[in-house]
Subunit: 287 residues, 2 copies
């Protein structure tokens, strides 16, 4: 495994690989502080791609004022161990000035999918995501890119961008990984106090309750499902709901009755103290 | 020379070329109705690139309401003759539905450079340009792309986008070609009546006057140069000035005294009847 810091070095390594090999280039973009979820993306890439490229870059553009850009957890040494064990070949760790040598004047924006959920509570967030992912795709020029479905809205935004801008990359969405007790893995879990960590289980529990509810019914309304989820989250005194929404998937649009959609997503963002956790479940209702 | 209409066909031809050859791919994006200016871009590409790709696509996204999208001149048969004579290998002529199978939700925007000149008088125009050029770059994946400097602001916007988004393409700006009497070549010249065509010479003439003025002086103000140009254009009774601005180049920012900038652009947009013509001169003041 090789670690490079400059765009020029990364490009030259990938060019060299492409010249000598017919295999594809798989790409896993991350903000570091890698956990088992990231490792699962790397293993998926390892199984599908000839060259596995990992990027570690905490992108200032996707953090709003007052968000946790400065204190976002970093641990390069451990990240490199996880990356190597999971099969990464090439790690790209650019500085902020390598990625943004001057303030960027160019923005990639995706409308429609970004007006609700995290788009509503984090204005500008998805412009920052779309812009940096577009930059990384241009730098790496991967054949496949692997994203975790914990950030389901991010996956939808990136798939829309790839389709609209004719990017020559296949997006491979990968399932959310969870701790044994159900908590979705996240770099931000490290912020939680012991008590917050316990109460945070209401997220995954409420999603399980929702799945059970859906299994037992031939049809239901978005409102019914949302109430169920919200009342379970309310059982945790420390939980402050940012959003808890039931939408048609992948359009991320509201619906009345489940008879009008083939697939739904229950998407949650809940704060415990300063820590904002997200989780979701995508339920296919019919083929 | 081969003509293709689908993105899939174009990609497969270029992939095949790259597999068999070490030469570079040169790209000339156009809206068709080719004139000698476009031919000069193709010849430049021919001299630098192994495979010369031309696109012909009148992009609805960069036309505003009431602009000339519907009546923009088209002549495929002659375009293909010009393209072949100038050395194109591959012509990409997609339909609107091939380029936009669904309404695009993704926009590429460049700020700063687009607030004045054509950006001010054609709101949304440069978003449309940046978005379609980004799509075409993703489809063709050229090593070099050739643009005429008649659209100097367009070149500046595209260079900024390429830099900000790390697109792996070299932008090659090429000089404006002119008719014998000085009129800048443009597909829109065909709209002009005989009388308008005569009076349209004030554009290139005023630029020549400006160059002469600059040559004779150690310093000057933007205002002096602008007045000179405006008063010459005013000698044409049919001319209606959209803008006539003197800006620092390539920043496209205003300046007071010429001692503060190394290079200036005199940029003109003038209407004759319904026809809007643009022209410009870039003058280097010092190395």
């Amino acid at each position: 495994m090789e670690v490079v810091h400059s765009i020029a070095d990364l490009r030259s390594r990938i060019r060299e690989y492409r010249r000598k090999n017919d295999g594809s280039v798989g790409f896993v973009p991350t903000m570091g502080y890698l956990h088992e979820g990231h490792a699962s993306l790397l293993r998926k890439a390892r199984s599908q791609s000839g060259l596995v490229v990992l990027s570690i870059f905490v992108n200032p553009l996707q953090f709003g004022p007052g968000e946790d850009f400065e204190r976002y957890p970093r641990n390069t040494e451990r990240d490199l161990e996880v990356a190597e064990a999971a099969g990464a070949d090439l790690v790209f760790m650019p500085s902020v000035s390598e990625m943004y040598p001057a303030p960027t004047r160019t923005t990639v924006s995706v409308t429609g999918l970004t007006s609700n959920l995290c788009g509503a509570s984090r204005p500008g967030h998805f412009d920052g995501v779309a812009t940096v992912v577009s930059k990384l795709f241009h730098i790496v020029q991967p054949d496949q890119a692997f994203f975790g479905l914990k950030d389901a809205q991010q996956v939808a935004v990136i798939e829309q961008m790839v389709q609209d801008l004719n990017l020559a990359v296949e997006i491979v969405p990968c399932p959310t990984l969870r701790e044994k007790d159900g908590l979705a893995m996240s770099s931000r879990n490290v912020y939680l106090t012991e008590e917050e960590r316990k109460q945070a289980l209401v997220l995954s529990q409420s999603l399980e309750l929702a799945k059970e509810f859906v299994r037992g019914r031939s049809s239901f309304t978005a409102g019914e499902l949302e109430s169920l989820v919200r009342s379970h989250i309310a059982t945790a005194p420390l939980a402050v709901i940012d959003y808890a929404e039931v939408l048609a998937y992948p359009a991320l649009e509201t619906f009345e009755s489940s008879t009008h959609t083939d697939s739904v997503i229950i998407a949650l963002a809940v704060k415990f103290g300063k820590t904002r956790l997200i989780d979701n479940a995508i339920i296919q209702l019919r083929k």
